[in-house]
Amino acid sequence: MRTAGEHQEARLAPAPSPDELALVEALRRREEAAFVELVESYGAGLLRLALTFVRTRAVAEEVVQETWLGVLKGIDRFEGRSSLRTWIFRILTNVAKTRAVREGRTVPFADLESETEEGPLLDPSRFVRTGEPWEGHWQWFPGPWGEPEERLLASEARGVIAAVIEALPPGQRAVVTLRDVEGWNSEETCNALAISETNQRVLLHRARTKVRLALEAYLTEVAGGGHGRDS
């Protein structure tokens, strides 16, 4: 069952783009510019993903470095069965898991069950209680958000989002990082993290809902007081 699913995922993995194939060829010719281009493209994302596996930035940077070494050592054997990007991030996932085990940490994603089955994300009191007319409907509507247009507010909002994402359980953090920060599609994300499509959807939903909730607390406040304001 699981093997069949993984096989299917592997077939669904997007093939390398022509640009990627050109980069692979250049890297095989040991061209430094190709390596720099890859690092510029994926370096920040790799570090972000590494931080979902290990706690300190220093260790995450080591994981990223080991990943690039793995990329270089493996590039001659890259078969193009997935996109180059997926392949690189998959190497990072493997390096980071090995590192986590060596450090005696529990392997991240080992506990996806509990991450996908946490309790309700929104306070149940926001909805009309069971048995009453309009049960399950908003007790009060979500308040409008202010526009964090000024640069200071926009950067504060980014700070709020970064902090929430950092505090998420590892699976949720990894999925929202790849999907919404890096802009990956769900197939690529499932492949890089070796998780099922169902888990990916649930983890993404939970992560997004939590980030929205934090922004609600922040932006409703910024808008000038939330409920009861008259403008």
Partner: protein, 83 residues
């Protein structure tokens, strides 16, 4: 009973991400959209969810620090000269 009663706001909240992803079965999507047409609160909620996703995407603007790039170039050059 009103027409929206078969899809509640708390149900919509529970599938908001799947809806935005286009992953809901067609029948459920139709029910959700007919609820949405009459529910200001859920319309706001979905707008805010979409805005959340856009704002998360803005975290991407980041560069590899020069010292990290230098260190990685060292790795590259060692690899290159090793064969």
């Amino acid at each position: 009973m009103d027409e929206t009663a078969d899809f509640t706001c708390s149900e919509l909240v529970a599938v908001a991400s799947d809806y935005i992803e286009g992953r809901l079965p067609p029948s459920e999507r139709v029910r959700l959209e007919s609820h949405l047409a009459e529910c200001e609160g859920c319309t706001t909620y979905l707008e805010q969810m979409r805005r959340t996703i856009t704002l998360i995407g803005e975290l991407r603007r980041e560069h590899v620090p020069p010292e990290a790039l230098e260190r990685l170039l060292g790795v590259f050059r060692t690899w290159k000269h090793a064969g």
